[in-house]
């Protein structure tokens, strides 16, 4: 067991536990916190995978902005514990088993497609910031601009939606 194994298994476990907690917790805030936990541990895994910029972005944007919005909304709406209604039998009796099946299938496919010979060597960093910057402003320039426009639209949309009716 090398340090990487420790790190991977520790943060993978944290991520999975956080995700489970997200589902099990009945209060939105707790779910949000556990999701933030998942994101943080994912950021560490990104670092292990050599994607330091993505890791930073993950924290700054996801944990630092998006989730703050979530928490903010939860606070504004003062959302309490969710009530345990079960009006959708389909979700319970069809969805859940099939979701499990789905999970198994995906794992099977992935394991078949990626035998455990392929190792992750932390020294091979490729997600250096300048590489990503070059790619973004070179090859992916158009999508980048488009996402900018998308953001603008979303901004306007959010403002229009959330403003109080005059």
């Amino acid at each position: 067991m090398s340090a990487e194994h420790w790190l991977f298994f520790f943060f993978a476990g944290v991520a999975v536990l956080g995700a489970l907690n997200l589902i099990l917790q009945r209060h939105p805030i707790h779910s949000a916190l556990s999701l933030i936990l998942v994101m943080a541990s994912l950021a560490v895994l990104y670092l292990l995978l050599g994607a330091e910029f993505i890791a930073a972005i993950q924290i700054i944007v996801y944990a630092g902005a998006i989730m703050v919005l979530f928490v903010f909304v939860i606070m504004v709406l003062n959302a309490g514990e969710e009530e345990r209604t079960s009006l959708s039998r389909v979700a319970k009796f069809v969805g859940l088993p099939l979701a499990a099946v789905f999970l198994v299938e995906v794992c099977y496919v992935l394991y078949r497609a990626w035998p455990s010979e392929q190792m992750v060597v932390p020294e091979r960093f490729l997600g250096r910031t300048e590489d990503i910057g070059k790619a973004l402003y070179g090859e992916f320039l158009l999508p980048f601009e488009l996402t900018a426009i998308l953001i603008l639209i979303a901004l306007v949309g959010a403002v229009v939606l959330a403003q109080k009716e005059p």
């Binding site: 959708s88 389909v90 979700a91 969805g95 099939l98 299938e105 496919v109």
Partner: protein, 648 residues
């Protein structure tokens, strides 16, 4: 010059489109100018064509001008192309010329009617289709014109569509024509199947080389079948027995319409078509005989009905039917030239008759019952004299146009040894003169049978109406002089003009028919006989309707039964109603509607609908509106797709 052949039909079509689309916002003056001017121009164009045509050397005729390919399906090819030979040239001249006069007349006649733009749009459209019909270079295009004139006739018969009788008559004409067109279509199919084309040249070229088929129905071949089917079409269009019933009712339309369509041009389309396919008929003696027989019977039959009709236009309608019968007779005995000759003259005098009658009706403001007329001679002199000339022409008074054409038909009938037909036609001629003069006397002579205040309103029609009458009168008088037979020292120019077209068939028919006593003396004698009979008919009419008018009623009393039969037109309409219409009604209502439509068709549709509704009722549960359920369905789909990829 002849390159602009297309101009002739194009002009009326153009003005028809203009009038039809924007006519409602044009002033009456513009409408009339457009409607009449277009036909006039196309008449001028056809005159120019004729002039150019006469310059041509015989081997350049006929002229074929193909414009574009209309249909191309496999080896079935239809060229939109025109075919100008002597026959079609004659038809074009008649159609445009007479049509033009009638258009002019219509200006006055329709002056006080509404919807002038509709009227002229239809009339121009009709002219276009008629010209298309006579200029067509193959059967397909001819059929287009054929159907087009049928459509226009329907539209114009039902011109006063607020009158039920008018619209019914329009429908009747349309439906009865369908029966004939059905035969025509079958003929076309058969033609294509036999000759692989509908083009005149191809068809006639291939038909000419075939041997003439035998007379006996047993061995009659495909040509006979084709000819007979064509005959069915002609019967429908030209109102022969047994499909003549629509024509009398067609008199519901405005009188110029009756003159143009139901006297001069459209109803002669059948004759033209038979004449056009003379080669086929010449090769099918049986069909030819059928043509002759039907024509003769129709001539006689319609004449008898004409005897007792009291509606001025109905009388003329029946006389039209009977005259068409004469033309059929002429064609049937192989005297195609004679048939066409009579077609031409008939176009002149019958159009004149109708127009004059129209002018009478116009003067009597709408009154059509000859029983309520009389002594109009002084009041409307133009009308009277023109009507008289036309009458003389139709009864075949010597020197008048009808005389030559009718006598040629009769003579050729006799000559080709169809004595029975000849006799029948002769009697019909006598009857014709009787009912025509009955008409003249009842309308213009004797004492007035209308109230004085009506009398005061009676006026001669305006010039725009009377001048066409005069022009047509001249034609009715002199139109026949182009065909003065050799027997009278004439040089039958028309016959020689048309000879190139019909030469082959004439020869063929001559070869078949045994010609007895072929001499001018006999011809002259027969002419005298017909003239004598015509005079007799006139005399009888004079005796009955002028000398002692009550005699008519006494006759009607004494011969009540046959009189009734004639008045009721042999109960043919009733017969058709009982034999055709009623069963059809029953079939449609009980079987097709209540059984087939309601049970099967609607049943199937409703069943589909209700199955769909049940399905929807079941599938509605998916759309519970519960997002979690939707998510579950999404998962289901994902699992299915993924499993497909995993296990395949």
């Amino acid at each position: 010059m002849l390159d602009f052949l297309w101009l002739i039909p194009a002009l009326p079509l153009l003005s028809a489109c203009v009038l039809g689309v924007v006519g409602w916002r044009l002033s009456k003056r513009v409408i009339c100018t457009l409607g009449v001017g277009s036909v006039g121009l196309s008449f001028a164009a056809s005159l120019g064509m004729a002039w150019a045509f006469f310059q041509l050397a015989p081997e350049q005729i006929p002229i074929r001008s193909s414009y574009f390919t209309w249909l191309a399906a496999g080896n079935f090819q239809v060229e939109v192309g025109f075919y100008l030979d002597q026959l079609s040239l004659l038809m074009v001249l008649v159609v445009t010329g007479v049509g033009w006069l009638i258009h002019i007349y219509s200006i006055g006649y329709m002056a006080h009617e509404g919807g002038t733009y509709r009227f002229f749009a239809y009339m121009n459209l009709f002219t276009f289709f008629m010209l298309l019909l006579v200029l067509a270079g193959d059967y397909a295009l001819l059929f287009v014109g054929w159907e087009g004139v049928g459509l226009c006739s329907y539209l114009l018969i039902g011109f006063y569509f607020l009158r039920d009788s008018a619209s019914d008559a329009g429908k009747k004409a349309f439906i009865v024509n369908r029966l004939g067109d059905f035969g025509f279509l079958l003929a076309l199919f058969l033609l294509f199947r036999t000759f692989g084309s509908l083009d005149f040249d191809t068809v006639f070229g291939r038909a000419a080389v075939l041997p003439a088929e035998s007379f006996s129905p047993g061995q009659a071949g495909v040509l006979t079948a084709i000819a007979l089917l064509l005959l069915v079409g002609a019967i429908g269009k030209s109102a022969q027995l047994p499909l003549y019933v629509w024509l009398p009712d067609a008199m519901e339309g405005p009188t110029p319409v009756s003159a143009l369509i139901h006297a001069a041009t459209m109803v002669t389309a059948g004759i033209y078509m038979i004449a056009r396919s003379h080669i086929l008929f010449a090769h099918a003696p049986l069909a030819l005989a059928a043509v002759a027989t039907i024509g003769c019977l129709t001539a006689f039959y319609a004449a008898t009905i004409g005897l007792v009709q009291t509606d001025i236009k109905k009388v003329l309608a029946y006389s039209t039917v009977s005259q068409l019968g004469y033309m059929f007779l002429g064609l049937g005995v192989g005297a195609f030239t004679a048939g066409i000759f009579h077609l031409m003259t008939h176009a002149f005098f019958k159009a004149l008759l109708f127009l004059a009658a129209g002018s009478v009706i116009h003067a009597m403001n709408g009154q059509q019952d000859i029983g309520k007329m009389g002594a109009l001679r002084r009041k409307i002199p133009y009308t009277y004299w023109t009507f008289l000339i036309a009458t003389l022409a139709i009864v075949g008074a010597p020197g008048f146009s009808g005389f030559f054409s009718k006598d040629e038909i009769l003579w050729r009938t006799f000559e080709t040894g169809n004595q029975v037909l000849w006799l029948l036609a002769l009697v019909a001629a006598a009857l014709t003169s009787f009912y025509m003069f009955r008409l003249v006397f009842l309308v213009f002579h004797g004492q007035a049978r209308y109230t004085p205040e009506t009398a005061r309103q009676i006026r001669e029609s305006p010039r725009v109406m009377t001048w066409p009458l005069v022009a047509l009168a001249v034609l009715a008088l002199a139109g026949g002089w182009v065909g003065i037979p050799a027997a009278l020292g004439g040089a039958n120019r028309l016959a020689r003009f048309l000879e190139p077209v019909f030469a082959s068939s004439h020869a063929l028919v001559q070869a078949q028919g045994q010609t007895i006593l072929h001499s001018h003396e006999w011809e002259l004698a027969l002419m005298g006989l017909t003239a004598l009979l015509a005079a007799t008919g006139m005399g009888v009419a004079y005796a009955i309707y002028i000398l002692n008018p009550e005699l008519a009623n006494n006759l009607a009393q004494t011969l009540r039964r046959p009189y009734q039969v004639l008045v009721r037109k042999y109960y043919v309409d009733e017969l058709y109603f009982a034999a055709v219409v009623r069963p059809l009604h029953w079939l449609s209502e009980r079987v097709f509607w209540q059984a087939v439509d309601v049970r099967i068709v609607d049943g199937a549709v409703n069943a589909t609908a209700s199955r769909a509704r049940d399905l929807g009722r079941w599938a509605r549960r998916l759309q519970s509106g519960n997002a979690r359920s939707y998510a579950a369905w999404v998962v289901v789909g994902a699992v299915v797709i993924l499993s497909y990829f995993v296990f395949s």
